[in-house]
Symmetry: C2
Subunit: 334 residues, 2 copies
């Protein structure tokens, strides 16, 4: 179990912060989307109407205020990181064959694969356009951070896809892939605030480390939802990650065990899974302790994330918002 | 003894320039690709092994020397523009369902749609990484130019795709789409040299205008190849653009004519085309004068491109190379 003592208001702080950030970022995000070719705006708005928590945008805003700047300083970074995140979701949905996200049809399933490819491409380019509109030293540095993180994220997505056709991967391979796929962009989100604020390197590094560990915890929790999450909540079929042969953290931990259960799991994941197969795979993963180990790993990385925030001086209010968002998004808020 | 003055043809100058540029750019391009995740390099190298004339890279190099800088100054721009161009080809081939390019299997048909999407994404990000590695004022400006041109290109590709399902488009709609799809990136290619060279705005503007008109001429010639080109040369089936219901310039001109022939053409292009349909469509487009009008339009834009080069002072040798490349690539070199 996590050793942190959580205030009962973490959930409330996080929810309020995310709502405030979404409200602050929305006009700038809409203005950015409005720069796209009219033909592309429809699919983008269809996608964005699905909502999403806006964690990355909030991190970009709050990391700016944590570094002593105004929230406004982080807005351009928040818009850029949301654009990149949504570009990756739109392309991921094609690659994964997902027809629904956030209880809505995905862009490719609604408009076709070609339009979904081009819409994702447009959002990726738009993110850089937004940052480079006014090429101050801070914004250029933010663009460098974002394009670097984007490249790492793409490498992680490529590995994630390649791992689907492998029998098993090591836990380390999984952690590396998940760091690339998720943590790099979250780390960038929390770096954008201090970068745009012109904060000292030490502050940027500490916030980047916070984001990196938070990302690992966040992805571990997401992996659990991909296996045990309620469809009503995830917006995806029961055991969706298992159906897609995703080698997520619980799966890679379970497959690394010795014994017949691991062999049975490997055989189940080697073919198309029936609902009974999904149920059996869930039991196998849970009984070998892989679920508990995944939770423990998420807790450990959340602790490391919070510890990173203690290494530098940050504005108290925003700092507590960062803590609350991390706890909320990793479901350690209750 | 007669003194024989040998004037090399535009073709010879262009071929030599393209070969020299390809040789100069290759090591930097390979180094850039080497930065990608190993899993992505295979598909990229498969794609790049198909060759291609390297017109955009050559324009970036030669435009630097035309503005008085060394060729080396343009190399980073040449690499970046080739990366963006190849990203667009890889994604276009998915969207168009093309299984072959340059007589080789396309990335999606060889490796799958998912890997082709992600490989294209990686090249697009890599182009910006390369430029922003050393964020000098010139390179940042080059990145701004490139990301802006990329966004315009994406809008053009979206229109190109959307037009496939329309009965007809106006000639102006076609010209606007083709400007966006092709001319914007070619204009950027010729701007990158002077931008990286820190040349005066007037020089950048004149070269950008050269690239813009050259792009329109280039696309018009490409449109003719898409209808009348030899498969042995284009690497695509006979009348490939007609099979795909592409509303290219000859088609949009022909459809805009009054009379029964235009109605017959519209009907032919409204469904799947047999080889006999392709042959008949070719005749209809040619007999109404649309082929000749397309050639005339290409010639007019080539003239405007060359005129733009006269507006500013450029280094003579590189300037003649730009002229030769424009003539060669628009098949006006003999």
């Amino acid at each position: 179990m996590n050793t942190h003592t959580f205030t009962p208001t973490a959930n409330a702080i996080a929810s309020a912060t995310l709502a405030r950030a979404a409200h602050t970022v929305a006009p700038a995000l809409e203005a950015a989307v409005g720069r796209l070719s009219p033909a592309l705006q429809g699919p983008v708005l269809h996608h964005l109407a699905g909502g999403g928590k806006g964690v990355r945008a909030a991190l970009a805003l709050v990391s700016a205020t944590a570094a002593g700047a105004t929230e406004e300083t982080g807005v351009v970074g928040a818009v850029a990181i949301e654009l990149v995140h949504n570009f990756s979701l739109i392309h991921d949905d094609i690659m994964d064959g997902d027809t629904e996200r956030r209880h809505r049809s995905t862009v490719w399933s609604e408009f076709g694969v070609g339009p979904a490819i081009i819409v994702g491409d447009a959002l990726a380019a738009l993110a850089l356009q937004v940052l480079l509109d006014e090429p101050t030293a801070e914004r250029v540095e933010a663009a460098r951070c974002l394009v670097q993180a984007t490249q790492v994220m793409i490498a992680g997505q490529a590995d994630d896809m390649a791992f689907e056709s492998r029998d098993a991967i090591t836990v380390q391979e999984c952690l590396d892939m998940e760091f690339a796929k998720t943590s790099a962009l979250l780390s960038c989100a929390v770096s954008l605030g201090p970068i745009l604020a012109g904060a000292p390197d030490g502050t940027i590094a500490a916030l980047a480390e916070f984001g990196s560990h938070f990302g690992t915890a966040f992805q571990a929790v997401d992996d659990m939802l991909g296996i045990w999450g309620e469809p009503s909540r995830t917006g995806k079929p029961v055991g969706n990650d298992l159906l897609q042969h995703k080698k997520t953290l619980p799966v890679s931990i379970a497959l690394a065990r010795a014994g017949d259960d691991a062999l049975e799991l490997r055989a189940l994941l080697g073919g198309d899974l029936s609902p009974a197969d999904v149920a059996r795979a869930r039991v196998l993963i849970e009984e070998c302790g892989a679920r508990a180990e995944t939770i423990a790993l998420a807790d450990a990385h959340l602790d490391m994330a919070l510890a990173a925030l203690e290494r530098v001086e940050l504005v108290a209010g925003p700092k507590s918002e960062l803590v609350a968002i991390a706890q909320f998004a990793t479901e350690r808020d209750r």
